[in-house]
């Protein structure tokens, strides 16, 4: 299997060069950009397998890169990479279409693993993102106002169990063994959570992050 092609988007030169050094040999870095417009243009032109996307950048940040690339028909997968722990940043970039979210403190092996996973069509959740998702979906809707679609607006018991293990620091392989299922099944559970996260229209989810900030 050939190495996945990766495009770096980050407005900090230091981070980009650090990433290039870390990723050398494990993936093929085919370009980089330090601002939104150039990023969108180059992503469409070079068709990388994976875009490593900084969440916080001037002029709309990672979200704009994501939106405009997807609108322009890009088929690249996006993996958000950020120093931010703010729930609204994490949730909104994933809802905008990122296939995963990892923090910049992630170590080399985990990052490479995450890139390969995203390139293969799977989702990547950091423990913190798993925690946020559990928190966001944990809320009941006592008044029944949100007109919940059980398919989209609730997690299955199994999905919850998988997310809990991610939050506890387990790798997919560990989770598979722990729950007595295959790694493929773990991956499909995570992808399904990602889909729900992106498509769920429950009121709580869209407002959850900002409410959390205010409360």
């Amino acid at each position: 299997m050939s190495l996945p092609t990766v495009f770096l988007v980050d407005d900090h030169q230091l981070i980009r060069s650090g990433l290039k050094v870390e990723l050398a040999g494990a993936v093929e870095v085919i370009g980089e950009a330090d601002e939104v417009d150039a990023a969108v243009e180059l992503i469409i032109e070079r068709r990388p397998d994976v875009v490593l996307l900084d969440v916080h950048m001037p002029n709309g940040g990672g979200q704009r890169v994501l939106r405009e690339s997807l609108e322009a028909g890009s088929t690249s997968k996006f993996l958000a990479l950020s120093v931010s722990d703010a729930a609204e940043d994490v949730i909104s970039i994933v809802r905008a279409g990122a296939r995963g979210y990892v923090t910049k403190s992630v170590d080399r092996d985990q990052l490479i693993d995450a890139i390969h996973r995203v390139a293969g069509g799977d989702a990547v959740f950091s423990p913190r993102l798993a925690g946020f998702v559990l928190d966001a979906f944990a809320r009941d809707d006592p008044a029944g106002l949100a007109d919940l679609d059980p398919e989209l607006d609730q997690l299955t018991a199994r999905e919850r169990e998988v997310l809990r293990h991610i939050a506890r620091g387990y790798t997919y392989r560990d989770i598979a063994r722990e729950l007595g299922i295959s790694v493929k099944t773990v991956e499909s559970h995570v992808s399904s959570v990602l889909r729900k996260l992106q498509l769920a229209n429950r009121h709580q989810l869209s407002n959850w992050a900002s409410e959390r900030r205010l409360s």
Binding site: P127, G131, A138, A167, G169, Y170, R212
Partner: protein, 425 residues
């Protein structure tokens, strides 16, 4: 003989400009006209308003206030400058300057003589002329800065301001009808005779006076109200900026300085950077920090992370789902979790310890996991202190359960769980 030196890091914090100057400097920037009153007030420790009232009363009563004000304007040094206006003018040594100052001095002398009894001239006139001449000299001799300030004072005054900003024609449109209304109003009012027969003219007269005043002053009043709110917003913005700057200074700048000093010791650098990172994150992102939930489970676990990371070379990844107030149950779980984290940090050899806490309506569950070397549970003697007493017994004392799973070579996980207080039937 070695001399031991203790290195200390001194960081000087930018202080706002405080303190009382030795001389009664004119505070021209903050003052109303030339800053004489404000300067005196600061020097004498009185309120500026008191001094201003004194000057106004003295001006009305004897004309002396205006005279004194003009003299002080010329003689006192403006704050931020080194020379008074008189010093500047005499130093230039232009004959015209010397003549003017001489004349001014002569007039002051005349006034002084008059007050001693040699009164053969109109003292009011001389006082007025002297004060006006002094003021004019002040404006003329003022520095570039001070002139700019005076111009803004003039522009902020109703009529002169309108003239300076908009020019004659625009002002005439407002002033001429305004004055006309005032005059008409006063004429009508002054011809009032009986009480009831003149109700209508009296009303008209009053209305005309009010209308005239409004017409003359409204734009100025609106403008100053607008300036005031703009100024207030600006002040709030500046205060916020100052708070952020102070925080960054206290924390980040301090840490960077520390890091520069211990650059040869990677472990130290990592520890310091990590501590700072955690503090900054908490300040930026954690809504719970400093809020009313200050004694919540999530905050207490944050404290555990801080303590463990400060003492050992590990990163603790904390994920909390839900939150609960601190009570006996939560307290026991937190201290057990801390013990477990310390064990993981000490013995596992892993760089990362995952700390996960989930709170639902009835239970609190905490998991402490590392992917380190692990150990054989059977090989640990029954009486080993750490796990038995610190972890298990603490949790069991509040009716909870603790379990440890470990596989050599793969890692260890401690699971703690207890029913929340007040949820038992």
């Amino acid at each position: 003989m070695g001399v031991s030196t203790t290195e200390r890091i001194v960081i000087i914090r930018p202080e706002p400009r405080l303190g009382v100057p030795q001389r009664p400097l004119r505070r021209a920037q903050e003052g109303v006209v030339a800053g004489v009153c404000l300067g005196l007030a600061v020097r004498l420790g009185l309120r500026a308003r008191t001094i201003q009232i004194f000057f106004v009363v003295a001006s009305i009563a004897f004309g002396a206030g205006a005279l004194l004000y003009a003299a002080l304007w010329l003689l006192l040094v403006r704050s931020g400058e080194t020379d008074s206006i008189v010093q500047r003018l005499t130093r230039r040594r232009a004959p015209a300057n010397l003549v003017i100052i001489g004349l001014l001095a002569a007039m002051v002398l005349l006034v002084a003589l008059h007050s001693l009894g040699a009164g053969w001239f109109g003292v009011t006139l001389v006082v007025a002329v002297t004060a006006i001449a002094g003021g004019a000299l002040g404006v003329w001799g003022a520095s570039h800065d001070e002139r700019a300030h005076l111009r803004s004072v003039i522009e902020a005054t109703p009529l002169s301001g309108a003239l300076a900003v908009r020019g004659w024609r625009a002002v005439a449109w407002r002033v001429v009808p305004g004055i006309a209304l005032l005059v008409v109003g006063m004429l009508i009012s002054s011809h009032l005779g009986g009480l009831w027969s003149n109700v209508v003219p009296a009303f008209l007269g009053g209305a005309a006076v009010v209308g005239g005043v409004l017409l003359l002053l409204a734009p100025w009043w609106l403008q100053s109200a607008l300036d005031l709110s703009k100024e207030r917003r600006e002040r709030v913005r500046i205060q916020e900026r100052a708070a952020v700057a102070a925080h960054l200074h206290d924390s980040v700048l301090q840490t960077l300085t520390l890091i520069e000093r211990v650059a040869e010791d990677p472990a130290q650098v990592r520890r310091i950077a990590r501590t700072q990172e955690r503090e900054l994150r908490q300040w930026l992102y954690d809504p719970r920090a400093g809020a009313e939930m200050a004694d919540s489970l999530a905050v207490a676990l944050g404290g555990v992370v801080a303590d463990v990371e400060a003492d050992y070379q590990v990163r603790v990844e904390l994920v909390v789902v839900g939150d609960a107030p601190m009570d006996d149950v939560a307290g026991a779980l937190v201290s057990a979790a801390k013990e477990a984290s310390v064990n993981a940090a000490k013995w596992s050899g892993a760089d990362v310890v995952a700390l996960f806490c989930e709170v639902d309506t009835t239970r609190i569950s905490i998991f402490v996991r590392d992917a380190g070397r692990g150990f054989d549970l059977g090989a640990v003697p029954e009486d080993r202190h750490g796990i038995r007493s610190s972890i298990c017994s603490r949790v069991e004392s509040v009716g909870g359960t603790a379990s440890v799973r470990s596989t050599p070579g793969e890692g260890t996980e401690v699971a703690l769980s207890a029913e929340r207080a007040g949820t038992k039937p």
